[in-house]
Symmetry: C2
Subunit: 317 residues, 2 copies
Amino acid sequence: MTRVEIDKNIFKLLEGDTRALSRLITQLDDKEKLPYIIQKVYPRRTDSHVIGITGAPGAGKSTISDKLIKLYRKEGKKVAVIAVDPTSPFSHGAILGDRIRLQNHSTDEKVFIRSMASRGHLGGLAPQTNDTITLMSAAGYDIIFLETVGVGQSEVEIIKFADTVCLLLTPSSGDSVQVMKAGIMEIGDVFVINKSDRPGSDKIEAEIELLWQLNDNKKDFKPQIIKTIANKNKGMNKVKLALAEHFQYMKDSGQLVEKRKQRIENEIMNIVHNSLLEKINARYFDEEVIAKIVDKIYNNNTDPFTIAEKIIERISQ
Amino acid sequence: MTRVEIDKNIFKLLEGDTRALSRLITQLDDKEKLPYIIQKVYPRRTDSHVIGITGAPGAGKSTISDKLIKLYRKEGKKVAVIAVDPTSPFSHGAILGDRIRLQNHSTDEKVFIRSMASRGHLGGLAPQTNDTITLMSAAGYDIIFLETVGVGQSEVEIIKFADTVCLLLTPSSGDSVQVMKAGIMEIGDVFVINKSDRPGSDKIEAEIELLWQLNDNKKDFKPQIIKTIANKNKGMNKVKLALAEHFQYMKDSGQLVEKRKQRIENEIMNIVHNSLLEKINARYFDEEVIAKIVDKIYNNNTDPFTIAEKIIERISQ
C-alpha cells in the first residue's frame, strides 16, 4: 500500500468504513508503515470501552461475546472484537478456535471481528494488539472486546490493554480456578460464572468471595460475581450492566486516565526496545560467527556469559 | 554470599551436595553473582536427560513425576525436578500447585525438587530455568524433570529447555487438546494419556494418531502414545522406556547436539538483550521525563512512535 492509499484508507477509517479498518490492520504487520499509520490515527482515538474477556478454553468466551454483542447492537452501539488465539512458538499458524458463533454477526456492518495470534517476538506479546485497538478506537467503536484464553502469561499480558476485565469461570473448570487463584483478584473486574446450571457454581462463587476477603491489596471497587447460562441468554444483561458500572467507576476515580497513561509508557518502551534489539541482532549476530562461538561453548572452551560480556562490550563502544 | 563462599559451594555442588545446589540456585537471582557462578560451573555439565512434563492443570503431572522418580531411584539414578508454576504479572508470588505428592521424596538425598515461577521480565521467560538446569547437570543429576503447565506461551518457551518432552493428556481435557492441536505434534516427543480408565481415552489416542498423519513436518521419530493410570502406577514403566528411547534417538541422530547448540545461541542472545535493555532503561527512561512525555501523548499532542523515534535517535548517537 502506498502512502496515498494509506491516507485514503485512514480517511475512510475515520468515517467508520470496516474494509478500510481491515486493510489498515493488515498493514500494521509492515514495520515501515506501522509508525506512519499510528502517527496519523493516534490523536483521533475515541472513548471506546476496551473489555477483556478471558477464561479457560471451553468457558464460553465466544458465546458470551456473541450475546453481549446482540445487547449492545440493540442500543445502537458499534462493537469490535479482537479474538486472540494462543500461538505455540513451535507451530507457525495461529490456532483458530471455535469462532463460528461470532460469525453470526458477519453481515452486520456495525460489528467488526478480527482474529489475531498471540505470537511473541522479542518480548513483545501480540504487538499489534495495542495498535489494532488504536485503529478501532479511531474508527469509533463504542465497545472493543479483547477475547483471550486466560491461562498463559502472553494472554494475561494482552489483557493489560483492557479497561475492564471480565473473567469467566465454569463449575467444571475447578482446576483452572486453583491455578489462577493467586492472580485472579488482581485480574478480574467482573466475574462471570457461566454454565451456572451445572453443579458446583455456588462453590465457585463462595471461593471467589473468599479470595476477595483474603486478598491483601483489595481495590476499592468490589468486583461483581454474576451467574450466567450464556447459551440460554441468562444473566447477560447483568453482565452488560456490571461492565458499564466498572467503566464508570474507572472514569470517576481517575484510574482510567492512570491506566491509559501507563499503557502509553509501556508502548513507548516496547517500540524502543524492539527497534534496538532488531538493530543489534542484525549488526552483531552474524550467523557464521555465532555458529563458531556456539561450537566453542558446546565444547566447554568458554561459556555464554563470557561471550555475552564480550558482545556487550563491543556494542557499548 | 562472598566469592569465597560461592567457590566453596560450587566445590560441594560438584560433589553432589544438595544444600550447596539449593543455595547456588538462590544466588542466581543476584545479577552480580549469576555470571560468576555460571562461568565456573558451565564446563562441568554432565550428560543429564532433561525431560519436560507438560499438560493442562489436573492432567496428573505431579503424580507422573512422582511415579517416574520412584522408578529411576530403583535404578540408582539421581533425579532433580524443576516445577514451574505459571505466574501472573498481576500477582507477585508464584502459585504453588499441588506439589504435595512430590514431597514424598523430601527425605531422599538423591531427589532434589525446586519450585520456580515462570515470571517473565523483558522477554526473558523464567530466566533462571536454564541456569538452574546447568547447576543441576553439574551436580550430576541423571534425570532433570521440567514440570510446567503447558497452556501458555511462557510455559511452552520453558519446555524448549527439555531434551524430551512428555505431553500429558486426559480424557476429560478435550478442550485443551483442541486448543493445542496445531502445536501438539511439534511439542510432544512422548504422548501420555493419563487417567485412561475414564471414557474417551481411545478417542484421544485416535486424535493424536490422526494429527500425526496430518502433520506436514513429520519428524522422522514417531512419538509413542502411552495410556497410563498414574495414581494406580499403571503404564509408568512404558513411559520411562519411551523417554529413554527418545533420548537415545536424539543422541544417535545428532539432534541432541543441534538442540543444545541452539539453546546456547538463545542463551547468549538473551543475556545480551537483557543486559542492554537494562542499561537503556536506566539511562533513557527517567521517571519525570517520561511522565511529561506521556502527558503530551495522552493529550494527543504527539504519539508513541514519534517519541520512540526520538529516543532511538538519541541512543544511537
